[in-house]
């Protein structure tokens, strides 16, 4: 990270379109989930405009589903804020992990691209940053993010009309798409002994937090333990 060639660290149309193309397959699944959300929201009593607007403005599926549990003739503000924040808190970690590269962009671009940061494009762009493919990484973050955003909105809208045909995405294994995708992202990284110990620590911590700590704390617990192990365990060789 110390010797970043700033000429490579910029947005380009070429890498943007390449990011868009890379994310078309997974975006189809994003759209199916959007449709499931559209259906669930209309069944909860949201009007069509609110449902689509929510997908466009929030763009974070799990928290949108979570908010439906609070929806009635009235919505309690504090529980809503706590729920949405807790479910989306992993974005804080994503932003922090991208900071070493994003700090070289001007604030407008830095915060602009984070508006479409989501699990999948974050994970894939981080891999590219680590391979020092900076332009490609930014293309994935922005192009991939915008693609998923468009499909998420379109899927939500379609769900208002055709949602009943996918009322149970779980039966078709569709709830596993994002998890399986993220798993392949983990496995693409380097797998030396040090990394495996870090992952092991993160896995144990996250499972324990999932079982015994408040809801939604498991990602933070795993990230904290993994990060601390990263400081404690010395790297075998330094690439410079």
């Amino acid at each position: 990270m110390s010797e970043i060639d700033l000429n490579d660290l910029r947005f380009s149309a070429h890498h943007f379109y390449s990011g868009v193309r890379k994310f078309l397959p997974i975006s189809l699944f994003v759209a199916i989930f959007g449709a499931a959300f559209g259906l669930a929201a209309s069944q909860t009593g949201l009007d069509d405009l609110s449902t689509v607007l929510m997908s466009a403005a929030v763009f974070a599926g799990a928290s949108q589903f979570g908010s439906l549990n609070l929806w009635g003739t009235e919505v309690p503000i504090l529980p809503l804020v706590v729920t949405v924040f807790a479910i989306n808190a992993r974005h804080l970690l994503m932003g922090a992990s991208l900071y070493p590269w994003l700090k070289h962009l001007n604030p407008l671009k830095r915060y602009g691209v984070m508006m479409v940061a989501s699990d999948a494009n974050w994970a894939m762009s981080l891999q590219a940053f680590n391979r020092r493919e900076y332009g490609k990484a930014l293309g994935i973050l922005l192009g991939g993010g915008l693609t998923m955003w468009v499909f998420w909105i379109a899927g939500t809208w379609l769900g208002l009309y055709f949602g009943s045909s996918i009322s149970d995405p779980k039966a078709f294994g569709l709830d596993m798409v994002m998890s399986c995708f993220l798993l392949t992202m983990v496995l693409e990284g380097k797998k030396d002994q040090r990394t495996l110990i870090i992952w092991g620590g993160a896995a144990v911590a996250s499972v324990l937090a999932y079982l015994y700590l408040p809801e939604n704390s498991h990602v933070f617990a795993g990230a904290l333990v993994g990060g601390l192990l990263g400081i404690i365990l010395k790297e075998e060789s330094h690439e410079h």
Binding site: V75, L92, Y99, L183, A221
Partner: protein, 105 residues
């Protein structure tokens, strides 16, 4: 305190959700701009980012239903042996679907 969802109330609820989510998307980058990036911080961040993914997946593998477990196992095996991530993901999903169709789910 509550917001009525009739009329413009719903839009206000959505606005709150959008702002809270934006805080999470911007907050990590913002906070890091006050943290001096030394070697230890770099190592923490590098180890943390992979750990985030592991921490999302691990509880799902332990606590999920058989379909979820087999899907992740299938994806892991294929991703490691074939280096074809899309195939690995597709097989994982198929595995979950088949398991759940067969099971008393």
């Amino acid at each position: 305190m509550s917001i009525e969802t009739a009329g413009t109330g719903a839009l206000f609820v959505i606005l709150i959700m959008a702002l809270v989510t934006l805080v999470t998307r911007w907050g990590g980058v913002f906070v890091m701009s006050f943290v001096p990036i030394n070697h230890k911080v770099q190592q923490f961040i590098a180890a943390m980012s992979g750990s985030v993914l592991v921490a999302i997946i691990a509880p799902l593998f332990i606590q999920g239903d058989m379909g979820a477990k087999l899907a992740l196992a299938m994806t892991a095996i294929f991703a490691l042996t074939t280096k074809r991530p899309l195939t690995a993901i597709a097989l994982g999903i198929a595995m979950a679907a088949v398991t759940r169709q067969m099971d008393i789910y």
